[in-house]
Amino acid sequence: MAEVSEPIVRIRNLSKAYRRGTQVIPVLTGINFDIARGEFVALMGPSGSGKSTLLNLIAGIDSADQGSIQIGDVEITRLGESELARWRAGSVGFIFQFYNLIPVLTAYENVELPLLLTHLSRRERHEHVEAVLNVVGLADRMDHYPSQLSGGQQQRVAIARAIVTDPEILVADEPTGDLDRVSAEEILLLMDRLVHEFGKTVIMVTHDPRAAEKAHLIRHLEKGELSVT
């Protein structure tokens, strides 16, 4: 296990509710939660427990009703929309259940996408993309379109896209949910490697106990409240 240091994620008194007409449905209630740098955390819980909402809030793609989230030195709950977009581009890597690759772009171009928001030159971008595709073992498939890759390979390309900007944290929403057992195992091993070799902080939402076993810490959400395992 990587050396666990100071918290990179600090969540304080976080609440979120959804509104359906006049009805208010609380999803998260007074969440307090720290995640240490280099930690691999699994968020588990039944459907509707608020785990994906918590992940979205940590990733800065949803806004809280109350409370604060601090990632590193940045309190993202205070950021405006465009500042948040800039922050996401440099600080968070996303891994989705259905990979969410852009079908009309090649593996190389998909991985390069986040780098288009940086000031890197074309050559520098090429070096970065090649390096991360080597990490995920797909350098030889860089010219392939997503439809020409298997599910496991697509998820590896998605992981390469997530780490290409060298973000502090990776958020993964059911990363093995659409994969067969063998591919799922490969992806979990790769994520484990990202934590141990590259010191990434990974926050993963999963229903799969085998996936959760890879995490250092499993947090359960039940009716919007956290418990530790």
Binding site: N56, A59, I61, D62, E81, S82, A85, R86, W87, R88, A89, G90, F94, F96, Q97, F98, N100, I102, P103, V104, L105, E109, L113, P114, L116, L117, R161
Partner: protein
Amino acid sequence: MGIPYSYSFRNLWTRRLTTVLTASGMALVVFVFAATLMLTEGLQKTLVQTGSSDNVVLLRKSSNSEVQSAVERDQASLLESQPEIAVGADGEPLLAKELVVLINLKKRVGDKPSNVIIRGIDAASLKLRPAVRLKEGRMPRPGSAEVVAGESVSRRFKGCGLGETLRFGMRDWRVVGVFDAGSTGFSSEIWGDRDQMMQAFRRPVYSSIIFRLRDTTAFDAYKARVEGDPRLTVEAKRETQYYLDQSEAMAKFLRILGLVLTVIFSIGAVIGATITMYAAVANRVTEIGTLRALGFPRKSILAAFIIEALLLGLCGGILGVCAASFMQLITISTMNWASFSELAFSFTLNFSIIWKSLLFSVVMGFVGGALPALRASRMNIVEALRAT
């Protein structure tokens, strides 16, 4: 840097059938738009090319065309002695006193009668129109009942071919030659000896006087003097201006007709583009959510979909212009409302029309794509990602 252009282009390519169908709708509108401009351009080019800026046309005041004009012989004598008139190599003034009469001839196809201009020329007429070249046969002998026909008339009207005989002015006239006047209005005329024609048509006066200026910059002073002379009832126009004025009424009509058709058609094409772009947005909700999650701002999403719509419009524009370019092969004839005579001209494509048509198609793409692009850019990231 925003979302790469290849994203927009490849998305269009991926749904080729929809792209082609929508672009075809836009192409139809661009075709109508370009064809109307080409028609107007062809008409104006034909009439303006008919004239030369060095030449001056003298007509009776308030006459809109040579057909309506009459210049008395005594006035003609005064006018041919003005110092501004250029002199040819043979020492003769480059001035022609011409007769212009309309006659009715039957077309070779359909037997339908139509007006044709008969121009009575004199010795200087050909020198004043260097574009006119004898193509077949010979020029009419002075004092004879012989005529030469413009190539367009010769081809389209009965009795106007080389060696054929026409009957007008209570006489028979033999066609002894066919002349090529390029794409000018003279191609739609029949020329013969002026004095013979004045007798045949019982005309005691000339229709117009055409001469070449010795110094082209002297026109304004000449015009002021001639039009202010109490002995004269003529007005002077540069030949190019005279023919441009002739084309104006019809060009205006064509422009309005084209504009009305184009506006009506373009509403349909824009709605088509909007539907296509809405479908494109609806099919790519997750992609949009992903791009936004990765950090691409709303304006990048807006730009990507606008670019896609512009490309769609441009495809339609290119298709439309390509289709319209084939119209250049067609020559049409219609009534010149200024002279009430038949005038043949071609659809003419130039860079200005290509540019305007492509701009028009891109504007249609923009209008069609604006709302869907706006919708894409305003999507909530979480909701978009849930659409998986």
